[in-house]
Amino acid sequence: MNGEYSNIKIAGVASAVPSYVMNSMDYLEIFGKRRVTKQVKMTGVERCHKSLRYQKTSDLCMRAVRELLTHMKWDLTEIKILVFCTQNPDYHIPSTAIDLADRLGLGKDCMAYDVCLGCQAFDLGVQTIAGLLQSQPNGTKAILLTGDVASVLASGSVLTKEDVVNQLMFGSGGAAVAIEKEPGNRLAFRNYSDGNKWDAILKYHDSPSMMDGNKVLDFALDDVAENMIRFQKEVLGDAVDYYCFSQAQKLILDNIADTCGLTEEDTLISYDEYGDTSGAGIPITLCHNRDKLARKGKVNICSCGFGVGLSMGITYFEIDPLNILPVIETDEHFDEHRKHVGLLHEHAILMIEPSNDLAEMLVRQLDRVGGNLSLYGEKESLEKLKSQFFWKDCELFTDSFEKMAECTGKKFHSVVIDMMDNDPEKIKKQIQFLSDKRMLEKSCCIVLVTVREETDDGLREFMNCLADQSGCRVNSVIYVPESLDIYPDIGDSTEWLERQIRMTENQDMIRPFFLSAAVNRLLSKEFLAADRSIIHISDTVSQLKL
């Protein structure tokens, strides 16, 4: 679909990245020298910036837009549209854009929403806003926010070969584009979407991200190049100063450039410094090259973003480099909206005596998803745990159970018990106590985390006993320590995996990603009916059925 406007001005661009830099070559030892060298050569990504754990896409976008608005000296009341194009919004319901509009002080006369797009976010976002502005008076302004966050490897992540590739390729970035309706500004565009390839890049609600690299490559080399050539022929009458693609890797971009007859001087890049920054790629590239652009005065840019969908957009516009800000670095993160971000924030969870690495890891995961935690156990180890938490309101009970009952008015929605170092009789007494003291909510769920035994019978009996005592639902998650950390197709690359494990905090620690996922699930509202279920974390992910 082609089109053209004569009254849309890309007034300014700003972008932000986190300050933590991950150098690809630092990983020679860990991921393997040959693999890393080859990958860097192919992708061209020498470094990328990664967000620390709690930074979200919106944090980067907000920093970018605030600096941009200050620079542009825009009157906030003239901004009538805010579109947030990302694959990582803060909330699913409602749109994060509404909250951002409020935080920016845009007033109630603004329309704001999120759109789910990836690397083509800049182009399709600009094209959408350009359309929306047509019904508005001249001088009306709009903001487009794009980007996706890429986090530092957190301990507790399961690594596959794809994860290694992703780690070295994707960078974190957020951007803001200021758009204004002003006659005398030409904006020409094209877009193309192939829904038949929807499964090339996908993520279900409870799955990791999946990508069919070949399909994406084909799309890039055929469809993207073809559409660009057509655009060049049919639309680009004027000269283009620079082409700016979304920052897929060097291999892909070089090929497209070749097919379209573009040289290195014609194209702007930023992947060498920032990696693939998804929807923020084009803005970051403009910002990264702003000094070069400033030498020319106003420049004509042809941008082309392509990705998830699979779809693409091409946009041709003029921009004044004085309004392209240099890339901003920030690690800031806004935390007041815990209740939206946290999956379990109002869910009072009591974890009894987390005494081994596994249990501690579980507790940290629950903290990460915003659980309202209370821990019972030994003072020193609990205090050490708490010091690593994000949410500071975790309650520690280090005395007796009786004391705990006196201190807290809490009623627990869940009690998580790691059975490995705990005595079943003691557990029975503790649950009885909690039940007698009415410290358990009506729909309370007790989750036992335990190592596999011969049969499930003994466990079932124990679960029934606890359930009868307390009137609560009781569920179990069983794991086999050796089988927790694998994907079947690791093959001969276990060495790098082990090195990666040693690099993160807990030595010799097994990464029970699926274990904590299973526990999180059992505690969530979706599984309010789950009772007396036993989940086995066994060898393959596909057997994780709840």
Partner: protein, 337 residues
């Protein structure tokens, strides 16, 4: 954001609901609360539809869109833009609109994506798609739908309000049309009145939402009508988002709209979020056997908080009967763990 959209005509609307009808009275015994019966009476929501099995909003949307495109005899290659407004997407990524494009066999020269909006979704969706069609001068498909309603053990008093539905609207550029006037608002500072967390915990301060309806929304409607130099009586029918009877009636009373001018659907279908407005148009047309051109005022309001109004001149003969379907596409299960 307010303005006027010219040269766009609605060529057809079809809504689709799941076949499974849930009767709220059945819950009077199940939910241990004597007041359930009263709630059903006051909210006016007797029945609602809930998807079964794997069916999601996108399935209903495609069923409706497919019938609509066939009915209009539009070539699949003529569609310039597909927008799916939903808070029940099939996946986290890509936008569910891509699956819809694939299922409908629509060609690739098309702009495709999901917009995340709820109760005001139809208004926001219309504003966006019409804006884009003004430059392409072609045809577009606006789809809305939700499938978050639940039935069964986990139903609580809030769940009795929600229903599943989807709607497909076909639009096209046309020189001679009455402009559609619209206005869109949002207020994130009051987002805590009504929201859902990442795993579908729904929070609602019913009283605050009611007051929001009776003040901000009603005031906006009054102002919209008067700013356009009109009277309440100049509009043939009002279509409010069907949150529940008390709120809808309350807003109508505040604005001074006679009851028979309001179209409703919550009694039979509950609160269907983004699909609410088009579904109500479809049901209203069926029940009242409306025909010919009518002046409609559509008003969506709710989660965000957002609220929006659009006034249009519509040919009721292009509103087709509501479809019932349990059809579920198998394509999304490809890699499902």
């Amino acid at each position: 954001m307010q303005g006027e959209i010219e040269h766009i005509s609605i060529e057809g609307i079809i809504s689709a609901v799941p076949e499974n009808e849930v009767c709220n009275d059945d819950y009077v015994a199940k939910i241990e609360n004597r007041r359930v019966k009263k709630q059903i009476l006051l909210t006016g929501i007797d029945r609602r539809r809930v998807t079964i099995g794997e069916q999601k909003a996108s399935d209903l949307a495609v069923v409706a869109a497919d019938r609509l495109l066939n009915h209009l005899k539009w070539e699949r290659s003529e569609i310039d833009v597909i927008i799916f407004v939903t808070q029940s997407p099939d996946l986290v990524r890509p936008s569910t609109a891509f699956l819809i494009q694939d299922r409908l066999g629509i060609s690739k020269d098309c702009m495709v994506y999901d917009i995340n909006q709820g109760c005001a979704g139809y208004i926001v969706g219309l504003t966006t798609i019409c804006s884009i069609l003004q430059v392409t001068r072609g045809k577009g498909l606006l789809l809305v739908g939700e499938s978050n309603a639940i039935d069964g053990e986990e139903v609580d008093r809030n769940a009795l309000l929600e229903g599943d539905a989807a709607a497909a609207t076909a639009l096209q550029y046309q020189e001679d049309t009455t402009p559609m006037k619209f206005i869109n608002h949002c207020d994130g500072s009051r987002a805590n009145y009504l929201y859902k967390t990442l795993n579908n915990f729904a929070y609602m301060d019913g009283n605050a939402v009611l007051l929001f309806g009776l003040s901000d929304v009603a005031d906006s409607v009054k102002k919209f009508i008067s700013d356009n130099g009109m009277d309440v009586a100049d509009i043939d029918y009002y279509v409010f988002h069907q949150a529940q009877k008390m709120i809808v009636d309350g807003i109508a009373q505040e604005v001074g709209i006679p009851e028979d001018r309001c179209l409703n659907s919550c009694q039979l279908f509950g609160n269907t979020s983004s699909a609410s407005v088009p579904l109500t148009i479809c049901l209203g047309k069926e029940k009242r056997k409306l025909t010919g051109r009518k002046k409609l005022l559509l008003c969506g309001y709710g989660i965000g908080l957002t609220w929006g109004i659009i006034m249009l001149d519509m040919d009721m003969d292009v509103v087709f009967p509501i479809m019932e379907s349990n059809y579920t596409f198998e394509d999304r299960k490809k890699f499902y763990l």
